[in-house]
Amino acid sequence: MAASSKLMHKVFKDASQFLKVGCRLQAQNVICRHASHFTYFKDEPLKEFGDTSKTNMFQAINSAMDIALDTDSSAVVFGEDVAFGGVFRCSMGLQEKHGKDRVFNSPLCEQGIVAFGIGLSVAGSTAISEIQFADYIFPAFDQIVNEAAKFRYRSGNLSNCGSLTIRAPCSAVGHGGLYHSQSPEAYFAHTPGLKIVIPRGPYKAKGLLLSCIRDKDPCLFFEPKILYRTAEEEVPVNDYTLPLGKADIVKAGSDITLVGWGTQVHVLLEVAKLAEEQFNVSCEVIDIVSILPWDKNTVCESVKKTGRVMIAHEAPLTNGFGAEIAATIQEECFLYLESPVKRVTGFDTPFPLIFEPFYIPSKWRCLQAVKETVHY
């Protein structure tokens, strides 16, 4: 990556200065990992959820599925290689504990996996299916969009597949190349009838996945794969759920609202720190958590307060989910806006193999966008 680093340095003349700042960020609850493009910010679980233990994201997801299997005798977990734990170890030990009839491998057939899950849930079972990578979900696109999403509507609520949850690892991982890095949430966000959730860490992942499994609508649960091991925090050991469709204000601020989801939330939190230190700008950071339905109230209330907003996501710009948020903001907050809605996203190119550091909406690109928006 020698050439890439040189270019990076040239492009951001003040990069070295930023880097120094970045390293100063090693505060109490911040892990500094130079291998990835972000610094993980830990969540504090609610006290009412009881005892906690140090858990990374794949363990938190494992725990959620374990609880779902324990508490719901109709629940089954299936997908490619899930029987021995799955490629990211999310289903480790579940087959041993719950039996081969409840946790099993499927053949390599994404369309079949999803359709099988729809059938299961239509007949009253709780189906927890895994697509090995979100990039592989497209053979199942038809089943998700045309069958799962419309089952309830087209039957006049006589039938539905609400107990279906589809899990899939998504987003950039540092070296995933074209088919192990994509963030396909926007394709599905165009489909009424689905719910789409993307957690930002272990605590959120466990509670949200349990909500998705128990929710009575088909849910897509995209897990940023880079967080599986890098994100580690205290997670309640017991059963708990977190609300779907509800955004989190992860950091309060007054000058500009930064909106993101998944891994990007951590990038934005770092940007907020940098902006505060560099430009004395106070950022409010919002994780929208649910892509569909998304919490427009929280976002719009924040934008009305700050008057400025930047949305960042890894997926390409055109028709990325940021476009929907931007359109809503201009409609709801038009008279409050001090500057145009800003988007920082992946480029309108396929996800690149060697150019990933440039393609992703890095903290440097986001920081630049904050600066531009504030000085508009």
Binding site: S4, P107, C109, G177, Y179, T349, P350, P352, I354
Partner: protein
């Protein structure tokens, strides 16, 4: 006394007729001096589905071909070793699937292919890329994402292409219908070619493959489906993923042949048979080549959680495609151990040199992130938000498949 290699070289420049006479003389000379110029072997019996007769189990190979086959199989093995090491050194980014153990499948098919034939496969294609004409450096530099790579480092391990080689597909099973289309193009243009369409035992369960079977038989398209059955679809064994593991019969109405995929000559014979079958107007055929992969599914899979180390070791010791072929050609005196050692040394030198260059080579420049998104760009720049100059759409080079 002349060595056999010298004699072969001495007749290389002669006219075909003289060459033929020369060869015969050479053969006689070699035989009288205890060297063979051709040898015959019996393959394991083929299993046939909806075919009255299959390929011959009696196969023969000339010394010349044997040495080429030996070189090709060993080069692939060495490329894969280099690729694995580069990945472990974190020089290869992206994903990386190794072909070690399966060499006889690719080399056998390649030796049967004619210039008008093409091939499409999944993501275990380093060996195929080399066989189809890309130099070792083109393969290794693609892996390291450098500009000498056959796709300029833009595709990486899973996406390599060259003439008559349509890649390099990342999504399991997606290449099935694609290969059918490639074969149909050849039929339509009356080029007389077939398209070898390769997939694994895992992909054999993808629905789109059955869609492809249907249209191929319906239109008698000259496509040869090859199920490289290495026993495991990612981490799930064939028995646990497939209701029928007789992959050669799973085209139902499409005839099929089961071949020992560890025997390069059997694969070659079956591939020759398949080409003849498909181009005679009878349409598609399925070959199941039974083989084994020594490594895990990809580099992130150690390959030991769903099978034992012993199992891998036993295959290495008893069924290795290279060792068994080497024994055959030495025992029949087609080649001497010294000749093969010399070839090994040449391969090592070639791969080592390519490996070194692949590490030292530079990457393409940032402008190429916007390269070849479209053929005809209607907007001058890529839509993006950047703090620096906009990225201009560009074409980097002419498409190879349209040359």
């Amino acid at each position: 006394m002349f060595s056999s290699i010298q004699l072969t070289r001495n007749i290389a420049h002669l006219s075909p007729r003289t060459k033929k006479n020369g060869r015969l003389q050479l053969q006689k000379f070699l035989q009288s001096h205890g060297f063979a110029s051709e040898a015959s072997f019996e393959t394991k019996p083929y299993k046939l589905h909806k075919l009255e007769s299959g390929p011959s189990t009696h196969v023969s190979v000339t010394k010349e071909d044997a040495l080429v086959i030996y070189r090709q199989m060993n080069t692939i093995r060495r490329i894969e070793t280099a690729a694995g090491n580069l990945y472990k050194e974190k020089i290869v980014r992206g994903f990386c699937h190794l072909y070690s153990g399966q060499e006889a499948c690719a080399v056998g098919m390649r030796s049967a292919m004619r210039k008008q034939d093409s091939i499409i496969s999944a993501y275990r294609v380093h060996g195929w890329t080399y066989l189809m004409g890309v130099p070792v450096l083109g393969v290794l530099a693609e892996l390291t994402g450098r500009k000498s790579g056959c796709a300029r480092g833009k595709g990486g391990s899973m996406h390599m292409y060259c003439k008559n080689f349509y890649g390099g597909n990342g999504i399991v099973g997606a290449q099935g219908p694609l290969g059918t289309g490639v074969a149909f193009a050849s039929q339509y243009k009356e080029e007389g070619g077939v398209c070898f369409t390769l997939y694994g035992d895992g992909a054999a369960n993808q629905g789109q493959l059955f869609e492809a079977y249907n249209i191929a038989k319906l239109m008698n398209i000259p496509v040869i489906y090859v199920c490289e059955n290495n026993g495991y679809g990612m981490g799930t064994s064939a028995e646990r993923s497939s209701a029928s593991t007789n992959y050669y019969t799973r085209g139902d109405y499409i005839p099929g042949i089961w071949v020992d995929g560890m025997d390069v000559l059997a694969v070659r014979e079956a591939a020759k048979f398949a080409i003849e079958y498909a181009t005679s107007g009878k349409g598609p055929l399925i070959l199941e080549t039974v083989t084994y992969r020594y490594s895990g599914h990809s580099m992130s899979d150690p390959g030991t959680s769903y099978r034992t180390r012993d199992e891998v070791q036993v295959v290495r010791q008893t069924r290795d495609p290279i060792t068994s072929f080497k024994e055959k050609i030495i025992n029949t005196e087609l080649a001497t151990p010294d000749e093969l050692k010399a070839i090994d040394a040449e391969i090592k030198k070639e791969v080592d040199a390519a490996n070194k260059t692949a590490k030292e080579d530079t990457e393409i420049t940032m402008e190429e992130i916007a390269g070849d998104v479209y053929s005809n760009t209607l907007e001058p720049t890529i839509r993006n938000i950047t703090p620096w100059n906009p990225l201009t759409h560009k074409r980097v080079g002419p498409a190879l498949n349209l040359k």
